[in-house]
Amino acid sequence: MFSFKPDRSQYPAAGEDGKLEIDLETGKYLKLWQGPNHPGITGNMSVELTVCGDEVVKGTTHVGYLHRGFEKLMERRTFIQVFPIVCRVCVPEPDFNEYCYAAAVEDLAGIEVPEYADWMRTLILEMGRFNSYMMFLGGIGGALGLGITGQWMTYLRDIMLDRFEELTGARIYHMFILPGGVRGHLPEGFEGRMEEVLDTAERYLADIDRVMFSNSVFKTRTQGVGYIDPALFEPYGVTGPNARAGGVAKDLRKDSPYLVYDQLDFDVVTHTDSDIWARSNVRRQDVQVSIDLIRQILRKMPKTGPAMAKIPNVLHWKIPRGETYIRGECSRGEYGYYLVSDGSGYPRRINVRGPSYTHAMALLEHMIPGTNISDVAALMVSLHTYPPEIER
């Protein structure tokens, strides 16, 4: 297969300090902004491309368009007041924030979560993962001009959001997982309606296999493009499906099981090519894993039980001094919350470790040189980055 190796001989030589010597006023190069208002960009961020003809010689990512200062806002709120704002950190998959924050608080405060709540959390996280992958599969199709997958995937995401709404009362920001447990129980007949959704999803995904993964245009534009050397995974902090597409079978759900993942039966999906095709494929297979997991959870989870542990009066809730780090495998990689408490009623510091932070910044800048302008969008989407969690 065609191996992607940029021919850097034509590019300007790097100076003594390692910087590229690009003189825009020679007229040979052109500076092109892709974003923030651009259809080929994931969310509200921008890439400043320096192009020479059709080829990109340098790409600089610019983030910060969605910065709300969450880590500062969290320091100003009591532990229970933080809970409704954490889910806003990442828009397409908000539940991981709720889980990581809740688990971090429970870890420091020494709260044992009831078994039912653990199962419920796993269910919510898997549903969120399904939604996030739907965004990806629609996005990668859209980035390569295949609009129909976007339509189908948005529909699938929508019917899953209906199940979310039934369960939690909200479509996007669920605010369901709070420190101590979850907010409620499964509604009656939920399993049957969820099964319908999953059946529909499987039917549509079979179509996606035919329309997208068997499409020769899609194959030509993705196979061999956007190759990440597996040797770069550790230095650049690549985790999750991006690393699994390069043959690294690491999945936190398997390696260090949290919640009830040790009682569930699933395989870690890997691929060897580490290009856009491989990354799309891994996610396509992972959707199937997610669907199977949701079925398993609904079958195995206890039918009744307390959903909340006993927690102290939240208005006077003080958490002992200490620091902790909670992580989980979200649809993009390792998601983590680092929480420091100084023994008062307010958190001292909360740091959100989003996987997009490493994928969309240093890694993307490293990968862009040598691609074509038209491939930059596909490359960005294939890394599956969500800007809100980069800048928080």
Binding site: G64, G69, K72
Partner: protein
């Protein structure tokens, strides 16, 4: 919630320097000529916005408004989290296209700017720019509680709290975040307003241009664009 620190005072003396590539300078063109350029003046048109007068005959104006109401083309600029609920509107389930609403990639083709959620200062700069590039008659819809009064981010140091201070807003859709049904209802209301001739945002912007510019410049520290970049 901790109280405000009375002693904390914002730093107001510090000016932000203009970026180097925007300063006036001399360049050599590829054919060897030396020319003086002043990027902020040379690359943009300086004309201020003008008030667009109504048609002389009311029935013609009504016809215009009817036509405008039935062709709302939205600029696909997802400025905040509300953008995620715009996506379902493009699919058959909610199908906003049946109302003549569609999404366009560039400001030049659009006449409705959706501010979908909180606006950080950095995005406000781009949103102002996108708004000014749009063709009149143009409308602005603020989406979500955070455009109305800051919402969840009322104490954030980086998001604006009141959108109509910086852009002329024709309609707000409340919610955090508004559901697709709420958005559709909002579009219907906007159509009614346009048909009644009450959406005069673009004219308001032209009339109170100095007011809007002052507010915009008070939050955007490094103002490295011309005052009106149509």
């Amino acid at each position: 919630m901790k109280d405000v620190d009375d002693k904390f005072l914002k730093n107001i003396d510090k000016e932000f320097p203009l970026r180097e590539e925007l300063r006036p300078r001399t360049v050599t063109t590829p054919d060897g000529q030396e020319i003086e350029i002043e990027p902020l003046k040379d690359y943009f048109c300086e004309a201020a916005p003008k008030v667009h007068p109504k048609a002389y005959i009311p029935i013609v104006e009504n016809f215009y408004n009817w036509a405008r109401a039935n062709s709302l083309w939205i600029l696909g600029f997802g400025t905040g989290c509300g953008a995620i609920e715009m996506r379902p509107l493009m699919t058959p389930r909610f199908d906003a296209y049946r109302y003549g609403i569609q999404w366009r990639p560039t400001p030049r083709q659009a006449n409705l700017l959706m501010i979908s959620g909180y606006l950080s200062v950095k995005t406000l700069k781009r949103a102002v720019r996108a708004y000014e590039q749009m063709q009149g008659p143009k409308y602005v819809v603020g989406l979500g509680s955070c455009t109305i009064n800051g919402g969840m981010y009322w104490d954030s140091y980086n998001t604006i709290k009141k959108l109509d201070q910086y852009l002329p807003v024709d309609l707000y859709i409340a919610g955090c975040m508004p559901r697709p049904e709420a958005l559709l209802a909002g579009f219907m209301d906007l159509k009614k307003l346009i048909k009644a001739g009450k959406c005069e945002g673009a004219n308001k912007y032209a009339e109170n241009f100095a007011f809007y510019k002052e507010n915009q410049k008070s939050v955007i520290k490094d103002w490295d664009m011309p005052d009106y970049n149509w």
